[in-house]
Symmetry: C2
Subunit: 171 residues, 2 copies
């Protein structure tokens, strides 16, 4: 689809089908996401794709601990893509946010739904998070910035709320 | 163009033509940018479009003050779009980063080039920045998150550097 159409039609989805995302679609979207611009062209962010039941469950529990309870913060999605970035890069939050945005749009083009989930900052500042980084071979300086819960949308696709008046100010 | 093509072909441009951006193209891109997802759907970010010579010059000087000198940090672009967001929204940096990413991609679809410029955080934390906010009717709690320098590309369009090996880790 045309890019403006993609930007305007992509919505955050919080109900997912149980089935896993097509591997080719996910790979194409991940590759496109790596083309996001990053501060000084350093390509500093790190994407981590999680699909195994045990690690998905661990991430859910870690995120709920930050939340202090409640429901699954990843909405039962069959795939979670984490975005981490090294804290010694001064634009690390913006860079990883840009990569996540690229990824959500690329997934939308591929017919795959997603929702941005937060609290990875706290998750990967914890001892359990740091143990996961070590297990994955990622240096400790990498901070959690955010993630996408990824899967095929279940039920009706959400509609956009009206846009806020005055969102764009021309001075 | 197709979204994946847009994501993979859009590059940061640092040389701009002197001519102003087509008003219709800019408006379509700005409107599309407001469809970016934001934390809790709050649409908290604020875009500010600057095109008058005096304010452009003021922003350049303010940014150079943060840098401590050097060349024009906005590369002589005829338009600067600032992204601000309220600090009492815990996802304000991520939200405004997402909106800027939407905007850069929408501009690319419209044939308009851009580069993400930083240091607005420091600029709008200063007395001069706060005075600008007041002049524009924006509450003081809004922080500068980033901006795009926007215009038509001058010279050859940049090519993508090779992507970093290991950017995507599957665990």
């Amino acid at each position: 689809m045309d890019t403006l159409q993609a930007l305007k039609t992509r919505r955050s989805v919080r109900r997912f089908q149980a089935g896993q995302v097509d591997a080719g679609a996910l790979d194409r979207a991940l590759e496109a996401a790596t083309y996001a611009p990053t501060g000084m062209g350093r390509q500093a962010p790190q994407l981590v794709v999680v699909q195994d039941a045990q690690t998905l469950d661990q991430l859910r529990k870690m995120n709920m601990e930050v939340l202090g309870g409640g429901k699954d913060p990843y909405y039962g999605a069959p795939t979670i893509v984490l975005a981490l970035a090294p804290e010694d890069v001064n634009t690390y939050v913006e860079d990883a946010s840009c990569v996540l945005t690229y990824l959500m749009l690329a997934l939308h083009e591929e017919g795959v739904a997603s929702v941005w989930v937060h609290r990875e900052r706290e998750m990967f500042a914890s001892a359990e998070g740091k143990a996961l980084l070590k297990k994955w071979g990622i240096p400790e300086k990498y901070q959690g910035v955010g993630s996408l819960a990824v899967g095929y949308a279940e039920g009706d696709y959400p509609q956009a709320a009206p846009r806020r008046e005055g969102y764009v100010l021309k001075v």
